[in-house]
Symmetry: C2
Subunit: 133 residues, 2 copies
DNA sequence: CGGTATCCTAATAGATACTG
DNA sequence: CAGTATCTATTAGGATACCG
């Protein structure tokens, strides 16, 4: 009965209040929550080239403040997308790198990206259509 | 050259500053933006069973205020997920229904849901593992 | 360098009341 | 019924300064 819902997809839920459907909504919301905000995606992309130090990430993203960067990295750590490593140099060196688990996002990200690109084109096209009326 | 990026997926971008990669980030962010917030997903699910009137949607979602519901529905309309129809009864009747285009979200939603469910289980499991240490 | 602490702004959501 | 208006609460995000 779980697989029934799995196969049907979220928008096919026939009973909004059913446990299965609420599970689906919760699933989608959990995923959105984890990826959300201004910095999560750029951060994952930046780290996808390899480990980076705190300051280097900051430079890479351009204008993120240390407070926000710190918060975002902690969240990514909690979700096990990122590992923080401390080296006992002087001064101390800290690097952040993506975990293998972060790759579990690949399919989600691809779908999001494809849909987003397609949607933007659609919106732009429909704006043009309207302005030429 | 666009397909090259398509196939590689977002986290494989090798040049953060490349046009292609920024396009991918923008794509993902556009998609997240459109689905985001507390109500978009529950709203789409609620309407997936068929057209509903304003008040019925409100009841269906439980505790959304008319102001927020109105705003959310307008955004869904702008993105062409929803069509608003006015019937000249007295008092006037208004229904909202999903468009065929809203189905273009099916794949994204399925990936989000699957990943979200899997991720929640993983987090819960790792909490248990930690508490039994 | 790798952060934290404090203060501040802007966007988002909600409560409540009201209108055509 | 189908909303809008007004006001308030919460949140995300940022500027700036400072610490080990």
């Amino acid at each position: 009965m779980e697989t029934a819902v799995e196969e049907k997809g979220v928008v096919e839920c026939t009973a909004f209040n059913s446990t299965e459907c609420r599970g689906a909504i919760t699933g989608v919301r959990d995923a959105l929550y984890v990826l959300n905000g201004k910095w999560k995606i750029p951060l994952i992309v930046a780290l996808s080239e390899g480990p980076l130090r705190f300051k280097d990430i900051q430079r890479s993203l351009g204008d993120i403040t240390p407070k926000i960067l710190s918060k975002e990295l902690k969240e990514l750590e909690l979700n096990e997308f990122v590992i923080r490593t401390v080296y006992s140099t002087t001064p101390v060196t800290v690097t952040y790198q993506l975990t293998p688990y972060s790759r579990s996002l690949d399919k989600v990200m691809k779908e999001l990206k494809d849909w987003g690109i397609q949607h933007r084109q659609r919106i732009v096209a429909s704006r043009k259509a309207n302005s030429s009326n």
